[in-house]
Amino acid sequence: MKKTLLAAGVAAMMMGATPVMAKTLVYCSEGSPEGFDPAIYTTSTTFDATSETVFNMLVQFKPGTTELEPAIAKSWEVSDDGLSVTFHLRDDVKFQTTDFFTPSRPLNADDVIWSFERQMDKGNPYYKLANGNFEYFNAMSMGELIKSIEKVDEHTVKFVLTEPNAPFLANLAMPFASIHSQEYEQQLIDEGKPQQANQQPIGTGPFQFVAYREDAAIRYQANPDYFRGKQPIDNLVFAITPDAQVRYQKLMAGECQVMPFPNPSDVKAMKQNDAIQVLQEPGLNVAYLAYNTQEKPFDQPEVRRALNMAINKQAIIDAVFQGAGEVAKNPIPPTMWSYNDAVKDDPYDPEKAKQMLADAGVKNLKMDIWAMPVQRPYMPNARRTAELMQADLAKVGVDVNIVTYEWGEYLKRASAVDRKGAVILGWTGDNGDPDNFMGTLLSCAGVGGANRSQWCYKPFDDLIQQARTLSDQAERAKLYEKAQVIFKQQAPWDTLAHSTVFMPIRKEVTGYVINPLGLHSFEGVDIQE
């Protein structure tokens, strides 16, 4: 405690701040940001350091949920035909004043339009600077979806779409949709140094950028003009600490107060430590085994279901996830709206599985199971998972050969329509919309791409396509619930697990909420002295 006070005091003097009791929160982040323009990158490490601190979007996810709430836009309406969305902007949003930029005006519609034009207008200097590499914007097909953006008045912006698209709103809460200052970026262009926007960002967010030392630390201070009020902590420091064990040591030593991504094996000891509290939440993710539904005999739903029944998923949760996860039955996690809890999972029943395989005329089946070479948030150890599956399937007379490739190669080969075998893979949601799971991973359009089961089933596809065009969430939910029933009957995947996310923080930290989308935000966080 003494150490913290001392640290806070010295930090205050360093910052030249008048209050001696300046509060500094240190976050032991897992890696370096790639840059400070959230539009051109795709990793959550970069988003934590940019969109979660410096920037705001038009709309945002309510902390701890995947529900939308107002941010820069105080309200919005969707036209009856679903082809346009009008946003009414707050009029009290100011861009940050730092030692490298002083805004002359508050945020208005021009900034919103600018923030999207820099990603879609080939003539925009930032588009040219980034060579159009706005990967998220592209991946979400925003360029095709947005027909035009119109300035209705100073504080009203209208997006005109090429087709009705319900997930569009959730997309606008994603980091790539951060609102930049047109004035700042235009000024940088005029000065001939537009790339500085990627090194010294200016946004409207709760914290403003102070300095970055490559691979070492990022320093922020509370934005005094923040539209939701100044933050309770004065300084925020990201201490870049790639090794999970070292992060843990630093947390124990009080060198940082919050750390992400602990080693699962350390969690038990952390929970017993008096100085530390371990927050936990089911992650917005799913791990699955995707059969190739175009390969014989996996083209028969009965065979896929039989194999699902032969695999003991609870044993995988216990051994591989060390209990830090739950068995999945649906392709979306239970924290997401439209989750159909009425769906019944195929039970673990090797005897019945054997019988079903025999009924389907499958004898002496040999198959490949692919194990990813990397650890992902939804899957701590794919190799071990594959071995457990191998042993389970051997019991029903299926001979499993485990294969693996280097990660990039794995992702590529797993996409091939004529691929042999079933692949272990997973997904972490990036906007909390069911379409982000079912549309991305299981639609006919995704075959040969992100749809690793190569599964195109019209009754299912019709439902999710229709759901995408509706703006009423209750109606959409009904369609997705139906889609989950069909999914379970057809079983293109064996749904394996939803992992648990752990967030160890020191006891004195209050107000920290786990973000289901896997980002880390410090808005509203305080330190009790």
């Binding site: 640290a7 010295v10 930090a11 360093m14 500094t24 240190v26 890696g31 370096s32 790639e34 840059g35 051109i40 795709t42 980034a130 060579n131 590499n133 990967e135 592209n138 991946a139 990627n198 102070v210 300095a211 030392r213 490559e214 691979d215 070492a216 630390a217 320093r219 420091v237 201490a239 870049i240 600490t241 790639p242 090794d243 064990q245 070292v246 040591q249 630093k250 124990m252 030593a253 060198e255 490739y405 280097e406 990660w407 990039g408 190669e409 992702l411 590529k412 996409s415 893979l425 997973g426 997904w427 972490t428 991305t440 791409g449 992100a450």
Partner: protein, 334 residues
């Protein structure tokens, strides 16, 4: 001497070309595709893939890519990182001083402990002290850096709380880089507290990185001391009745140092290799950690550029060692 330098420099050219080929080929021989890695689980459409390939120039034949790489190199341009989109040269040199500072401290630690230990072991040949030095250096030499680093962190930082866990300086100090050497920059900034913090942060990583060179130096010093001690002129010196201090320090050590200097020079490569692991454990913001990240993301320009720069630096250091050697021992020049 001038001719000697010229010959040495000329010898560098083919080596350097070899290095560029290896650096270029190394990352491309690894399986994996940077564009696919960037796309992740979502995958990427064939058109977008082709577009990115063309943009990065990966669609061109390898010899053409290599030629472009060489041309850039001659202009001091190693391209832009695929991940951060910033110039590789800038990314490298903003981190290199951190590695150099750590390596210098590690080397100083290795020399200050290793040299006297080797000398003492040689003088006390066959005694307990000798066995201890030989035993410890053997252990030190075979110590896995990763394990050793974590062990020290857990004990000195975790249990005792004497040293900071990781990083280069306390987060409270944001020193503007001038030389890039934290110890020097903090002094330039006139910030005594920051200087002490920087030193404090150097202790554990320097020990971890210096352990293997220390073992090598101690062993080399010991064996070359023993060799020289057996020479006729040392016997003569002793017979002349010189004090044993004089015999050891002047007649033996000076001559034994020749091979020790070479070994120290050779440690530079080893230090840079060891820095990769040490920096990862201690979150040390140097090129080691940077290279590991670049390799895991298959960031071709960063990896090939980084390798060439590291090789270039090692070659220069070896050249300087050769030259120093030529100065100490003029016979080498011929």
């Amino acid at each position: 001497m001038f001719k000697f330098i010229l010959v040495k420099l000329a010898q560098l050219v083919p080596t350097f070309i070899g290095v560029t080929i290896v650096a270029f080929a190394f990352i491309r021989l690894l399986p994996g595709d940077p564009i696919l890695l960037m796309a992740g689980e979502r995958g990427i459409s064939a058109e977008r893939y082709a577009q990115l390939q063309a943009q990065f120039g990966f669609d061109r034949p390898l010899p053409v890519q290599y030629w472009e790489f060489l041309k850039g190199l001659l202009h001091g341009d190693l391209g832009n990182s695929l991940v951060t989109h910033s110039p590789v040269v800038g990314e490298f040199f903003s981190r290199f001083p951190a590695t150099m500072e750590l390596s210098l401290f590690a080397l100083a630690f290795a020399v200050i402990i290793g040299l006297p230990a080797g000398v003492l072991a040689a003088i006390r040949r066959g005694k307990t002290l000798d066995h201890t030095v030989v035993g410890i250096s053997l252990t030190g030499y075979s110590m896995p850096i990763f394990w050793w680093g974590l062990l020290l962190i857990m004990f000195f930082s975790g249990t005792l709380g004497w040293t900071p866990v990781s990083g280069r300086i306390s987060f409270m100090y944001f020193i503007e880089p001038v030389t890039g050497f934290m110890t020097i920059d903090t002094l330039l900034a006139g910030d005594w507290g920051a200087f002490l913090s920087a030193l404090h942060h150097l202790i554990l990583p320097a020990i971890v990185l210096g352990t293997i060179p220390l073992a090598v130096i101690a062993r080399q010093t010991r064996s070359s001391m023993l060799e020289v001690l057996g020479e006729d002129y040392v016997r003569t010196a002793r017979a002349k009745g010189l004090s044993s201090y004089r015999v050891i320090m002047v007649h033996t050590l000076r001559n034994a140092l020749i091979s020790v200097v070479t070994v120290i020079g050779l440690q530079v490569g080893l230090l840079l290799a060891g820095a990769i692991l040490t920096e990862t454990i201690f979150s040390w913001p140097g090129i080691g950690k940077w290279m590991i990240d670049a390799i895991s993301r298959r960031d071709y320009p960063s990896v090939q550029g980084g390798l060439v720069l590291i090789a270039f630096i090692v070659m220069i250091v070896n050249l300087l060692v050769d030259l120093a050697y030529g100065v100490i021992n003029p016979r080498i020049r011929h």
